[in-house]
Symmetry: C2
Subunit: 440 residues, 2 copies
């Protein structure tokens, strides 16, 4: 069989695009309405998606109120509360929740993901994050955010503790011998007794080993420390996208690190986030995107452009071309990317600002055929193992992907027609981890 | 309308009785099988129960392995992971999860219960506990358990923070004005900025105000501090049962404390836990209980009797009567209760041990008519406002209650035939709390 794409759906927020809730026909409350979310996931399952993926923030994002009041993401569900509810109304699709190693306790995390894995019949995934937003500290009783190196040190040990707790019970510990009144075999229970530099956790976990052994481990860190912990532990990596060349460099780097550690390259799937707008013609798809971008309020848009350029862009003529921009102390890459984007897509100041204020990352805007061509190119040239798809607006953008792009991917032999396995791990082609305390 | 019973179902463990999983026809994995739990809650909803109630433990209980290996409760689901899944397969019944103020963070708790309340359409309740089990500390990086007074001090402040976070947004904050691109009215957002002796939490919460304003506040503390915090804050109180006279004393005490604080006595429902065994005759019900008790393994049973008496009971003749027991330094009430139980029900040593090792609290064992008589007496003499029903074994014990006792309660006008409202709060007859920052 040819190399197969893996597809996640990036569903928190349900659309990454700031103006999604204003698009004609969109549900303005899509992010926050269980009935809508149920419809979305059932459609994704019909489209044979590998997983429903929820990012997370442990705070309302720190933005000027003029921008914040326009954001549909200030209200949304806790991932580990929403996903069990969605598990109950689906049968096959994976359920990946973000949870922070900086602001959580490993016993809670091990227990919740184990519970989700059992309730869903083996469909849970944990997106392990260290939480970059310093405002979160203020919601958790701390004056200062933990610094980057410290966060990653704790994350690595947290992972060891959580996976150790998942291994508290052998897979066959629960014998439930009614006649003799023996519920479990005491020889198949392990007390972790972890005492490390950051964490002390006795165990055992008060729930049996997850159906998948361990829920699938997902990560998104792009820093040096993030790539290293991913190479050591991750089974799915979600990246920020960028150009195909960027994707290929990232792919080669992280898979190379795996090989150096003795892990098989196939034991991890790398999925860049891809914003996909589908039209019957390329022109129609572009027009949809232009309409969507035009709905980004200029207050938000110009703030994004100013941040990217490192200067106050509100004094530029919105309808004119981007003027010459002097170099500043701000991010050089942000400035260069904005200038390149304006040039490539021939955008005036307003359009450029609205693109940056909407979504400016990797995008496939075209017909089912052109989108499939691009996805295939990424797959076959080791730019990625698939994508974490971002929908431009809901429900239409999601329905278009499932009804139009998925059949084309299937026709080309790039994507499954039926789920291969019973669990997320089986569908992704990942091995079930052995229990470290009860090896076979 | 006559005074109405409120009925919760105590569902973690699904049966409080140690031998429930061994009863003929019982599901040995009832505590840990989502398909079974879905069936149970749908049956309870058909029986118009107010709520599905989940106790919790943050550790495997500390018991000698000889008793522990016989316990069906070592593996069970995290309440805040199971209840969202059950919300998705029900429409009316309330969903009450236990969560600890000692081992959780208020931002997480506020967010998870708000999410559950929205996902379930206003059916969430929070059983606020301070966690008495000192072993839990070892699972959360602490060498020593927080002492009782300190736990209750933190609990009271935790409650203020969580309810304050629920009030972050006015009920009508989210205007979703598509034309003008305004998602919420900035004047209807409040930043809590709590800085207290135990907790510092900025806010706002990143989810809209719960449908019920606040999820229903449930408590179970029986100590002096527990009764006082309940009188100040609780809307449902779950008690350990005991005799009718015990119930009346507790009821008068806590409702009296409420009155002294200026709270209406109707603003709280007191629900003792009641173990109910249904038969077509009283003899049949007693025989069912005897069979169930006989399935408590003697190892576990005699350990329970020894603890109750404060002496090693394993040297007694199991088939003989309870010998004279000298007073010891152990719990006087436990010893007296055991002696009284043996006398009242004419139990030999084995039967007494098995009763104590199974479930020895408040029990209604009889026909639908005698059970209804007893429940009515409690209700009409201010022993309680209803019960948190404990089933002897599953599914039969639960089905018997719903199919046989509920119709009798309904015939007698003691219990609803249809749900009165849309939310748990409405069904319990509790007022929706005003938003403290955005009064009407």
């Amino acid at each position: 069989m040819a190399r197969q794409l893996r597809l996640g759906a990036f569903m928190r927020p349900v659309s990454i695009h700031t103006a999604a809730w204003r698009y004609p026909g969109a549900y303005p409350d899509a992010n926050f309405n269980f009935a809508h979310l149920k419809r979305f996931i059932q459609t994704l399952e019909r489209g044979r998606f590998d997983a429903f993926f929820m990012a997370d923030h442990l705070a309302v994002l720190n933005m000027p109120i003029q921008a914040l009041k326009r954001s549909a993401t200030v209200t949304s569900f806790d991932p580990l509360t929403l996903l069990p509810a969605l598990a109950a109304v689906t049968d096959h699709i994976g359920l990946v929740a973000t949870a922070s190693t900086t602001y959580e306790q490993p016993y809670h995390i091990a227990r919740k993901f184990a519970s989700l894995d059992h309730i869903s019949g083996g469909r849970a995934g944990w997106n392990l994050v260290t939480t970059a937003n310093p405002d979160v500290a203020l919601n958790f009783g701390l004056d200062e955010h933990m610094e980057h190196g410290e966060r990653y040190k704790r994350a690595r040990e947290f992972y060891d503790v959580v996976t150790g707790l998942w291994d508290s019970w052998a897979d066959d510990a629960f014998i439930r011998d009614v006649d003799n009144g023996i519920y479990f075999d005491p020889d198949k229970l392990h007390v972790l007794n972890h005492k490390g530099p950051e964490l002390a956790v006795r165990g055992p976990l008060n729930i049996g080993r997850p159906i998948q052994g361990w829920p699938v481990i997902v990560q998104a860190g792009a820093s040096e420390a993030g790539r290293q912990i991913a190479a050591e532990t991750a089974e799915v990596v979600f990246t920020g996208g960028g150009t195909l060349a960027d994707g290929q460099r990232f792919y080669a780097d992280v898979k190379g690190r795996m090989a150096a550690l003795g892990r098989s390259r196939d034991a991890m799937k790398i999925l860049p986030g891809a914003f996909v707008v589908v039209g019957d013609t390329v022109e129609e798809a572009r027009a949809k995107r232009d309409l969507l971008d035009s709905l980004v309020h200029y207050d938000s848009a110009i703030a994004s452009l100013s941040i990217a350029l490192g200067i106050d862009a509100s004094r530029f003529d919105p309808e004119g071309p981007l003027p010459e921009i002097p170099e500043t102390n701000a991010s050089k890459s942000g400035r260069e990317r904005a200038i390149e984007l304006a040039r490539r897509d021939n955008l005036n100041v307003r359009q450029l600002a609205q693109r940056l204020g909407g979504f400016a990352g990797l995008a496939f805007v075209g017909t089912p055929k052109t989108i499939t061509d691009q996805m295939e190119e990424w797959l076959l040239t080791e730019g990625s193992d698939g994508f974490n798809v971002m929908f431009p607006y809901l429900p239409e953008g999601l329905d278009d992907f499932v009804d139009k792009v998925v059949p084309e991917l299937q026709r080309r032999g790039l994507f499954r027609r039926e789920y291969e396995g019973r669990t997320l791990r089986e569908n992704l082609g990942l091995a079930r981890p052995e229990n470290r305390f009860f090896p076979k």
